[in-house]
Symmetry: C2
Subunit: 116 residues, 2 copies
């Protein structure tokens, strides 16, 4: 067996291009990606089949829902249940980790970010 490889999240996200959803691992049918992004508001969208996890490594941003918004700061984690309309609103530079079921992210829900 080849030993599993560790990933340092901060090193990984600093190696991603701006707006690149960079895959850093897989687990149980989920893809883990790191992302750095700034000055971007996505359209409202819904992931019908997957919950979505955000973990903020650096910076702060909000996720808006139809009924209000949740403000996230470094160290915060938020799990958005499947089927809930939402949109990230990012002004300053944010570095974060995302986890969703494989195939959840596409050009329609990433604001044109590169999904790798």
């Amino acid at each position: 067996m080849v030993l599993p490889e560790k990933v340092n999240l901060r090193v990984a996200v600093n190696g991603a291009a701006m707006f690149e959803y960079l895959t850093i691992g897989r687990m149980n049918g989920h893809t883990l990606r790191v992302l750095q992004v700034e000055n971007r508001t996505l359209d409202f969208h819904t992931h019908e089949t997957s919950d979505e996890l955000f973990y903020v490594m650096e910076g702060a941003f909000s996720i808006e829902f139809e009924e209000g918004a949740v403000s996230l700061n470094a160290g915060d984690m938020l799990i958005i249940p499947k089927g809930i309309r939402h949109r990230p609103v990012v002004t300053e530079c944010v570095k974060c980790l995302l986890i969703e079921l494989d195939g959840t992210l596409d050009a329609g829900n990433t604001g044109g970010g590169i999904v790798t």
Copy 2:
């Protein structure tokens, strides 16, 4: 709809008792737990049905496999594929996040830690 609640990982883990696997969220059939632990080496064990994710928030420890060990430091993430025998070896105080499929952790693979 009630807005999803964010969790600050550092605040959450500092609120866990030593050796308590404290549940902080669920996503797609997985349980997310935080844990602080020190001076504990678990028996070798295998999770047959779930990959297992470790993310180190504070401290350093090793995960041993039959073929070698991986040393983890703060900020490191490791995903152990299902079916791979392993054991965590912890000396200093470590604070970490764990993710596995619901029902993966039990008294036989947590060294008697409290699974909540």
